[in-house]
Subunit: 212 residues, 2 copies
DNA sequence: TCCCGATTGTGACTTTTTCCACTATTCTAC
DNA sequence: GTAGAATAGTGGAAAAAGTCACAATCGGGA
């Protein structure tokens, strides 16, 4: 559901880069300076050859015999994924989930800043979530347009997700992270990714032994 | 990170089944009785051949010329994924995210029931989240053991995720959904899946045009 | 200086996944 | 009853993804 076809690097490779970046950041936090494809692979459950091949798409980041300089590799991956800048993100939906997302501190140092939270419920509009004030969804398109917001997260009930997506797309959003458990239709130039815990759970229950 | 190797059906196929089930449920909610691989594929952005082949792993669920009886297919998929029963799930972490998860109504009719919420913070232990009371994580292993809990969600800070996972595994949990943005190590008989919004966002920013 | 162990980057190969296209079947309309 | 349109199921081809294994290179130590 993401992807531009034009580019030569497989999307599945792009999808692993954030995992590499995350693992590298943890290694650095532990004070490490250098790592190897083998070590990284162990941490991630991915073969070392895979990691080397993935990284080689973007140039030779490592040194034979030594491995990868962590700081250097982090820097390069950030640039490749364009998270060496801060993307401002809009959140639609200020319910339990939307609030939790908006309060989450973990976006900031990984390239994203929640900058707006929208809701349609008059009882929620104007209330504060941490720093920001919940905005009326009626003003959403204006705000998105004037701020050139490219990324939004949908945290509304499934019934409203498509409608919200339509508004976002019309206002110029190019990337949507949809927490609502429903597939949404968007034009080809817009990317959508989904977060649905039940999908993961059901995937796992297939393999579980039901002992009841 | 899921998977038993023994089985003959590819894990990637298993991973799509929840998506099929979700789309079928929506179709039924719209009052539809029958659908086709083509329609399903359109909704999901998957080729119709893919869907037919995936489903054919589990038997002939459709009828040539007609398509798939939605109720029947839902029933079969539920059985295949073992979500025709209700799995009781433990949530570890009663912060903003853990609370939002615990309050979410969407698990129930898809095969899962949040049954316990644990936290280590004395200020949170004993407080109510909807119906249930936040339990002391010190009692977690006992509760998991005596109730034979097989599934847990981790919603604690990254630093504590591995430690929590260790406790869960030791107590007999077989499937973990980890919301903490860190890879955790578990024995091979335990499945782990991850939810990290930043991973999805970074995946998408690779393709965005940074106009700043 | 030279050797040895470690590790990358990569071409070739293998495995997995997806797609194609065809047959068989079903339903509807006439 | 028959023709025609629609659609599942499927074997095999094609494409994609992953793995292997080796040459090249690096750093450290004798």
């Amino acid at each position: 559901m993401p992807l531009k076809p034009s580019n030569s690097i497989p999307d599945i490779v792009i999808g692993r880069l954030p995992l590499y970046l995350r693992a590298l950041t943890h290694l650095r936090q532990e004070g490490r300076d250098v790592t190897s494809s083998h070590e990284l692979g162990e941490k991630l459950g991915i073969s070392s050859a895979q990691i080397r091949k993935d990284l080689s798409h973007f140039g030779g980041f490592g040194k034979q015999g030594t491995g990868y300089q962590i700081d250097f590799l982090i820097d390069r991956l950030r640039k490749v994924m364009q998270v060496n800048q801060e993307w401002r993100v809009a959140v639609v939906g200020a319910g339990h989930l939307g609030s939790a997302i908006s309060r989450y501190r973990g976006f900031r140092d990984r390239g994203f800043r929640i900058a707006w939270v929208f809701d349609a419920d008059p009882a929620k509009i104007g209330t504060k979530i941490d720093d920001f004030i919940v905005q009326d969804v009626a003003n959403m398109q204006d705000i998105i347009r004037s701020n050139k917001v490219q990324i939004a997260m949908i945290a509304v009930p499934a019934e409203q997700a498509q409608q919200v997506a339509n508004l976002l797309v019309e206002a110029g959003v190019r990337a949507i992270l949809n927490y609502a458990p429903i597939n949404i239709n968007v034009p080809p130039h817009v990317m959508v990714q989904y977060i649905d815990p039940v999908v993961h759970l059901q995937h796992m229950t297939y393999y579980l032994l039901s002992d009841e």
